[in-house]
Amino acid sequence: MAIPTVINAAGRSVPLEINSKPVVPFMGVGKYRPAGRKCGPPIPVCSDFPVDGNKVVPSLKEALVRCGLHDGMTISTHHHLRDGDLISNQVFDLASGMGVRDLIWFPSASFPCNDPLIKYLEDGTINRIEGSMNGPLGRFVSEGRMKGTAVLRSHGGRVQAIQDGDVRIDIAVLVAPSADMFGNAKGTGGRSACGVLGYAKADSMYADKVIVVTDNLVDFPCFPMEIEGNYVDYVVVVDKIGIPEKIVSGTTLITKSPDRLLIAELTASFLEKSGILKDGITMQAGAGGTSLAIAVFVHEMLRQKGWKSKFGFGGSTKYMVEMLEQGQMGYILDAQVFDLDSVSSVENNPNHIPYSVFNAYNYHSKGNLTSMMDIMILGATEVDLNFNGNVVTHSDGYLLHGIGGWQNCLHARNVILPLPLFRDRIPVIVDKVTTLCGPGELIDVIVTERGIAINPLRTDLVESVRDSGLPLRSIEDLKEEAESICGKPEKARFEEDIVAAIKWVDGTVIDVVRKIKI
């Protein structure tokens, strides 16, 4: 089956259709300008809903039946319960029991707890996943065993796809730590608190049918609501939506590895000496051990200089919460929380504000929060000599990570990737990334334990640290050192078959992942 391919603006060979639907090849950053109007769900009529506002139905199965679950539907879930989610698998258990086939699962992210879904990919209950996949799911897809083609999108890209009509959600099943009978819901309260529900907002507004599932039914109104009951068809009350200790880490910890700490220290030092760090900066750092260590170093620098970050964008951790509480950060805008300190902060601190990815990340909207950020700390599995980044596959070709907000965050003013020069034996800097997820023109600095490479396009940054005494090196030089230590790796080998498409933030196809040659 020969699907015609073209070479896109990033030089990657991509198909013109995926899962029998036409797609647009990547045209360059900011080049694709779609015409037309955004999509919306069908028009509901309130007289179809209970006048007393009570939308509670007896079971999830009942709700699915009433939503008209049938073959080929697109089912969305969100990932705020992370690895502790008990509901998304149940949806497919029920669907399988009802004999429904060829479903499309459209999660905002998947976790190891979703590995049991492999059996439904095998037996045809699920045709494909359009979302991130890790571990065994990624391996399953890489080996060409999923019937449909996976589509990987960033968090903002997912909202873009929903709003632009690239993906029409038939049924959104939205777990909520607290909800009322009308469907108003929030991420706090109850015993399965996850903090915020930012990733579920678009699903609630654009899906044909919306089911809210909670284990904590509260009196109307559930307030402050992140999901509004006017978008909700049914409410289901269950014993347990999640396993609390797997929803958020009890506590997130900075890295103890001396090598990672060194990278964090160098990164902080770069931020200081380049002048990027200043009073009023805006920043985002992830929940990885190295990012957290950078946050701690930055916090200390702000404190010493008497400066304050205007706002930080979450995922929040206790280290960000400490900045907020100790006066080195004005606000936390938060799309997801990673630990218990953050859950309690978002519940109690009015300056810790739930903020949906909708407002933050969507490229097809009237402004983008990430382009307002001064400092963006991100990871990558590979970076190439043109500073292109890969976050979804490893150098051995296997799909192992989702994109998350990574692509969206590339639009920040200073995108900095603190990375070890090699992991175990595998060099991180390569001639050409195995899978292209982000164009090098948006990636500014690579900080490794053996030196810092600045993208030559950023002449201003190059100039700012010229006499700083920092260990500045060319990216070619770093790559050469890694290979002199590790040896030059062979390349992963692939079949022709496409197993996954990687969407850019604007919905165009930036690259594809091909089946592993075993």
Binding site: D396, R425, G469, G487, P489, A492
Partner: protein
């Protein structure tokens, strides 16, 4: 004779290492069963390396099982050589290339503020050891290596000295005591070791034996680099004889004290304030300085308490010590900055040297700064402080020393 051997390490927590299970056979050639985290990227090169090594040792028929967790070639080589040497008697060595960057020498008077101990059988810790700016990296064959792993560690350390770039840190090895230590030297001396640490030293004869053995190896291998010695005093007898030990050889560049064993020898417990070892420490400072070598303090074992370490370094410096051991990379910068001269000290030194040079230009024999006369040792010490400050990057904010514009 046994025909099966095991070397190296494998398991879920092991990184950058591998396990070799070698079984000699009488026919069917070399069969390699490789399980590796990096199979796709390095599988073929690992197989080729293993085959080359087996052929090098004259092995034609064997089943080799490799459980690899991302080991570098020099680690794979060391592990396989160890497995081979458990089964056959040979003096052959399968040496990885010697990196050009590793050919530097060090002077006996160089700074030795921080020396970082790396266990001799832990490849994952060796690879990045040089990144933490320690003055010296010690590949330890003694206490940090389990007795049954000693032979393997020698080969691993030998290969590390050839292949791992320590980025200018002094290349040190701590050998074992006695005969085993002398045998250790055979493995490491030809690999451009800059300094050998002699543990539990309580007799100048021990130092002379090591020194003689090093000379013998150097002569035999035509190797001319200088190898410095650092005896470690770890007993009451050692303290009593520390002056003789310090003077026992021209090669002795520094002398350290090891307080864990010393306090055990005394039968007292080691405390943070260290009253129990004050005599030994001050005695060692005096004997070392009397012999013209560097006195080096013991390691500080609480790796989590950086503030206590900082206090410890300051008191150590105040006693006259010129360096300290580190058992964790994060200790390096604390120790380095602790031994660094303070701002007042730097400023005063700059003034002294400037006054001296001014006087020299004017042909004056006597130098004075304010009301104080300055003699040659004072100037020398001031110059040393300035050099040190420059090396530690502490001079950048200071007014440029006009007498040394070429140093900018």
């Amino acid at each position: 004779m046994n025909n099966k051997s095991i070397s190296g390490n494998a398991g879920p927590k092991i990184r950058s290492d591998c396990e070799m299970i070698l079984q000699l056979r009488s026919e069917s050639g070399i069969v390699i069963d490789l399980k590796s985290k990096v199979q796709v990227l390095y599988g073929a090169s690992i197989r080729k390396l293993c085959t080359d090594i087996l052929v090098f040792f004259g092995i034609r028929d064997a089943l080799l099982t490799v459980n690899d967790s991302g080991a570098l070639d020099w680690v794979i080589g060391a592990r396989l050589e160890s497995a081979v040497k458990q089964l056959i008697n040979t003096d052959l060595e399968f040496l990885p290339p010697f990196r050009e960057e590793n050919k530097y020498q060090t002077t006996s008077g160089r700074f030795r503020f921080s020396r970082l101990y790396i266990p001799g059988n832990a490849p994952a810790m060796m690879i990045n050891a040089g990144l933490h700016s320690a003055d010296g990296i010690i590949l330890d064959l003694e206490d940090s290596v389990a007795p049954e792993m000693k032979d393997e560690a020698r080969i691993l350390v030998r290969n590390a000295l050839r292949q791992v770039n320590f980025y200018g840190a002094e290349r040190m090895v701590r050998i074992n005591q006695g005969e085993r230590g002398l045998k250790d030297l055979e493995f490491v001396i030809p690999q451009n070791v800059n300094l050998v640490i002699i543990p539990k030293c309580e007799d100048p004869g021990q130092v002379r034996l090591v020194d003689a053995k090093i000379s013998e190896i150097k002569e035999r291998s035509g190797f001319t680099n200088q190898v410095h010695l650092m005896p470690v005093i770890e007993s009451a007898l050692g303290v009593e004889r520390s002056f003789e030990i310090a003077k026992s050889s021209e090669s002795v560049a520094a002398m350290a004290i090891g307080l864990e064993d010393y306090t055990a020898d005394l039968g007292v417990s080691r405390t943070i304030e260290g009253k129990e070892s004050l005599y030994a420490r001050t005695r060692l400072v005096v004997t070392a300085k009397a012999a013209g070598i560097q006195p080096i303090d013991s390691v500080f074992s609480d790796v989590a308490d950086m503030e206590a370490l900082r206090q410890n370094v300051l008191s150590s410096k105040a006693l006259g010590f010129e360096g300290m051991g580190c058992i964790h990379p994060r200790q390096v910068s604390v120790i380095r900055m602790g031994f660094a001269p303070g701002n007042d000290e730097i400023e005063k030194s700059v003034k002294i040297v400037a006054a001296y040079e001014e006087a020299a230009r004017n042909g004056l024999g006597v130098v004075a700064l304010g009301s104080k006369m300055i003699d040659a040792p004072v100037v020398a010490r001031a110059q040393k402080t300035i050099d040190l400050a420059a090396r530690l990057g502490l001079l950048s904010d200071k007014p440029v020393n006009e007498s040394n514009p070429e140093e900018k």
